[in-house]
């Protein structure tokens, strides 16, 4: 696809790199030459320096032949203007990043009336992700999967858990659980396990299951799966705003610590149930006073990544069971993974992942029949959803009789309203939505998974 990205900030850069790796022809536009050079020197993309909201610059970037325009500059209004101009200039689809909470209610209007294909709000998406983690604190990450009917849950095996040393086969039969263990990260390697794979301490396990089954499984293996009752949030920024909005009706009691008095007043007026504390979140006496050691979850959402990491480590040290850390700028995922942080959210990666999912889906609609694509372990293991056609070779044979390629796993089968976790005796039928988990091997059709 021909894709134009306006804005070469963190999100723009990540998108340019990923979309280029997927084989798209990408052109980036930014008014700052240094930002453009930073992208073009690293990825095989064309760079143009200029204001992306002007039609001359968009024409120079080839808007007439573009299939998609993504506006991710720092300004919401500029992003929307870029989309409007692009709509006038060509038939392409447009995606805009819109951060301001005042516009967030307008997202459906923007989509319908202005013809935007997608309006993405990184802070809202991050808040949603945090809320999911708070509801299910044992998980490092929870993503809706197969149209939300099952969830992809990622968790780290704690020390001394009873399934350590058992094989996948044993675990499934012992607990009689209806779930799929689809990926395991061990140190820097990632594996798609078969039945004989043995769990080790500190493995990060990804499972696919319905929320109910997952809950039962966690109870069975004696991982504390209960939902938390109260959370302490440091920083009262936009993410906090959305988090309050999402969790307003839940049973989780929120405490927010914010430095700025005016912001405190705003938040307390908007969300009367939330306890807003005016004070410095880095003051550890204050945190102890607010009961950091006893709270169900500690969420670090200040503007500084370093501060967030340190605060979470502090909370962990004081005995808080669950910490969520916002890390936006730092690129050193492997360093973060070594720290004893539970979950981290990165608005930049959430934004680019959401856009990538959309792009891949539209792209695949043309070339192959992949419906949606999920990143289970970014850059290593992904899950692709296919609709099985009438003439597909995998129809009508029990799964255990089919010869699959190495590192390929059927994640789930959705038939009508029912989603099942496949077992060897299951048979795929035409019209099923099948999720295939694989190491990135570029699947274009469900038949590609066979040897």
């Amino acid at each position: 696809m021909n894709i134009i990205i306006i804005g070469c900030g963190r999100v723009g850069r990540t998108l340019a790199q990923k979309l280029n790796e997927d084989g798209n022809a990408v052109t980036v536009i930014d008014s700052n030459a240094d930002n453009v050079n930073r992208v073009t020197s690293r990825c095989d993309v064309m760079g143009i320096v200029g204001n992306g909201a002007t039609h001359t610059v968009q024409r120079e970037a080839g808007i007439e032949t573009a299939d998609l325009m993504i506006a991710v500059t720092g300004s919401d209004e500029l992003n929307l203007l870029c989309c409007l101009v692009a709509k006038k200039e060509s038939e392409c689809q447009t995606i805009a990043r819109v951060k301001n909470p005042e516009y967030s209610g307008d997202a459906p209007y923007l989509k319908d009336e202005l013809g935007l294909a997608m309006v993405i709000n990184p802070e809202y998406a991050s808040a949603e992700e945090i809320a999911r983690v708070l509801r299910f604190p044992f998980a490092l990450k929870i993503e809706p999967f197969a149209k939300g009917k099952v969830e992809l849950i990622k968790f780290k095996l704690p020390k001394g858990n009873e399934i350590i040393g058992m094989s996948v086969k044993e675990v499934i039969s012992k607990y009689n659980s209806d779930l799929l263990i689809c990926a395991i990260e061990r140190e820097e390697e990632s594996y798609i396990p078969n039945g004989d794979f043995v769990f080790e301490e500190k493995d990060v396990v990804s499972i696919v299951a319905t929320p109910k089954n997952a809950y039962e499984f966690f109870a069975n293996i004696k991982c504390k799966g209960h939902s938390i009752k109260n959370a302490l949030i440091v920083g009262g920024g936009v993410v906090t705003h959305y988090l309050c909005e999402i969790l307003e009706k839940s049973h989780i009691a929120l405490t927010v610590v914010e430095k700025d008095l005016k912001r405190c007043e705003e938040l307390s007026t908007l969300w009367s149930k939330v306890k807003v504390i005016h004070g410095d979140g880095t003051d550890h006496d204050l945190l102890l006073e607010e009961g950091v050691e006893k709270c169900g979850a500690f969420v670090a959402l200040s503007d500084s990544d370093e501060e967030n990491v340190l605060l979470s480590l502090f909370a962990k040290g004081e005995g808080c069971e669950k910490t969520v850390t916002k890390v936006n700028r730092i690129d050193y995922d492997n360093v973060l993974a070594q720290l004893e942080l539970d979950a981290s959210v990165c608005p930049r990666i959430i934004t680019s992942d959401t856009i990538l999912r959309y792009v891949r889906a539209t792209e695949n609609a043309v070339g192959s029949n992949v419906e949606t694509l999920y990143n289970i372990i970014p850059g290593q293991i992904e899950a692709a959803e296919f609709i099985v056609r009438e003439n597909s070779p995998i129809i009508g044979t029990p799964l255990y009789k089919l010869k699959f390629k190495k590192d390929v796993l059927i994640g789930s089968i959705t038939r009508g309203k029912e989603t099942l976790i496949p077992r060897g005796n299951d048979i795929i039928q035409a019209g099923d939505a099948v999720v295939v988990i694989s190491k990135r091997i570029g699947l274009y059709d469900i038949a590609d998974i066979l040897k």
């Binding site: 280029n20 022809a25 030459a33 020197s41 690293r42 990825c43 095989d44 993309v45 064309m46």
Partner: protein
């Protein structure tokens, strides 16, 4: 320094060179020449060595600017070292250094020969074809050619190679993907070469038409006849004149024309270039007429041919311009320095560099009148970044320095100043003929081995625009 990836790229280069050798091999088979074995022998070497280089996967495929530049410089040296083997083993050249000079002159699209023109004409046809073909492949760049077929390395790092190999102060892409950019460039290049071949083949033998098209397209200038280009009809001379000019225009312009953007196609550099060409032709024509060297008609024809030939850095000759009046000769030498447009197959300092330099000088004088005035240099409505201006200034300084050192070294041979000066001018600007003993009627064979090595170095320096070659000699480049 990532030696793994350098080794692998050089491996691919050797395999591609093996394929290039097919062109002279086919020629030799058509004309039943025994030199076919010299080429087959070299192919065996390059194929084996290339294969050996490709064994083992590099640990990392990271390629930074440093590796890109080193790969480019080494590729050109390696390609020339092997390209010279068949020339030497076939016995046409007295020493290996002579053969190397000839092939470097081919790849860098210089077109200077160590052989007198009558011995060139007596060379086997396959050798002539190989010389001309090196012009064609060297003109647009061999690594750019490889990039059409192979992703040399991941991500945007390929750009580093293209930047090092393509001429001009700032190299940009035409299309988002490197591979499609390289593809479009070679497509335009091939189409124009074919067009010229079709126009010429009516008027001259097929073999001559192919050679002339290759040599014009790359703005190389190896002649295959004893009398250079004088023996062909006026029609052929005019066709070649036009195509020499066409091949020295930035290829991005043709890309814009294909997309219907005529305004972008006729940018400042192209306008200035055409302006210089027309004024030089006019001045020389007037000078030739006044001093009664030629009649008006012939004067226009020959001055147009010579100016196009020199400014495009091709180096074909219809007339021995060494016998022309001093004023005309001076203009031709000035044209040698100006050279073609950036992003073309021509050499020289490049028109865009001069445009930026002159704008810089005007800028400086304006700052003397208003010391606090802030003004950026612009070209075609776009700001020329300070780094580009600085790059152009440093380029010129390095150019002059290398010029002077080379001049000193070759003057040890005891030739006259005009010969020495224009010999360096003709090699460092990739033109071919100079004045005096190296004029259109002369050759480079009488220089000592040392001088020839200096010329080889200068030709590579001129083609790769100085810095890639200099970087090879910096110890810091090779430090782990």
């Amino acid at each position: 320094m990532n030696y793994g990836i350098i080794k692998r790229t050089l491996g691919w280069l050797l395999l591609f060179e093996t394929c290039f050798f097919c062109v002279p091999v086919i020629t030799a088979l058509v004309y039943r020449e025994k030199e076919v074995f010299d080429f087959l022998f070299t192919m065996l070497i390059t194929a084996t060595l290339g294969g050996l280089f490709l064994i083992g996967k590099p640990k990392k495929d990271r390629l930074f600017a440093k590796e890109g530049i080193v790969i480019t410089a080494l590729s050109w040296i390696l390609m020339s070292l092997f390209g010279a083997i068949p020339l030497y083993t076939s016995g046409g050249y007295p020493t290996y250094v002579d053969a190397l000079f000839e092939i470097v002159s081919g790849f860098t699209t210089t077109g200077a020969s160590v052989l007198p023109s009558d011995s060139v004409a007596a060379l086997p046809k396959c050798i002539l074809m190989w010389r001309s073909f090196t012009h064609w492949i060297g003109g647009m760049g061999v690594l750019v050619f490889i990039m059409v077929f192979l992703p040399l390395c991941g991500g945007g790092r390929n750009m580093n190679i293209m930047k090092a190999e393509s001429p001009g102060p700032s190299v940009g892409k035409l299309l988002p993907k490197m591979r499609s950019t390289a593809g479009v460039l070679y497509l335009i290049y091939t189409a124009m070469t074919l067009l010229q071949f079709v126009l010429l083949v009516f008027d001259m033998p097929v073999f001559d038409a192919i050679n002339t098209s290759f040599a014009t397209a790359g703005t190389g200038g190896f002649a295959i006849k004893a009398d250079g280009f004088a023996g062909y009809s006026s029609y052929s001379q005019i066709v070649v004149t036009v195509f020499m000019v066409l091949f020295s225009i930035n290829f991005a312009s043709y890309f814009f024309i294909l997309r219907g953007k005529f305004k972008e196609a006729l940018n400042t550099e192209v306008r200035v270039f055409l302006g210089v060409v027309v004024s030089a032709i006019t001045l020389i024509t007037v000078d030739l007429c006044i001093s009664n060297v030629l009649q008006v008609g012939d004067a226009i024809k020959h001055s147009a041919f010579s100016v196009s030939s020199v400014i495009s850095t091709t180096g074909f000759a219809t007339e021995n311009f060494d016998t022309w009046p001093a004023f005309s000769k001076t203009i031709l030498v000035l044209c040698m320095f100006i050279g073609a447009c950036a992003g073309s197959t021509g050499g020289g300092i490049k028109v865009s560099r001069f445009v930026i330099l002159f704008k810089g000088v005007r800028h400086e004088t304006q700052r003397m009148l208003h010391p606090k005035r802030i003004k950026k240099i612009t070209m075609d409505g776009k700001v020329v970044e300070h780094e580009v201006v600085r790059g152009v200034n440093n380029y010129l300084i390095a150019f002059v320095a290398i010029f002077v050192v080379s001049l000193l070294l070759i003057s040890l041979d005891g030739k006259d100043l005009v010969t020495n000066f224009t010999a360096i001018t003709a090699t460092i600007n990739n033109i071919g003929p100079g004045l005096g003993a190296v004029g259109p009627a002369g050759h480079f064979g009488d220089f000592s081995i040392l001088s020839k090595i200096v010329f080889i170095f200068d030709m590579l320096i001129g083609r790769l625009e100085i810095f890639p070659m200099l970087l090879l000699f910096m110890p810091a480049t090779w430090r782990k």
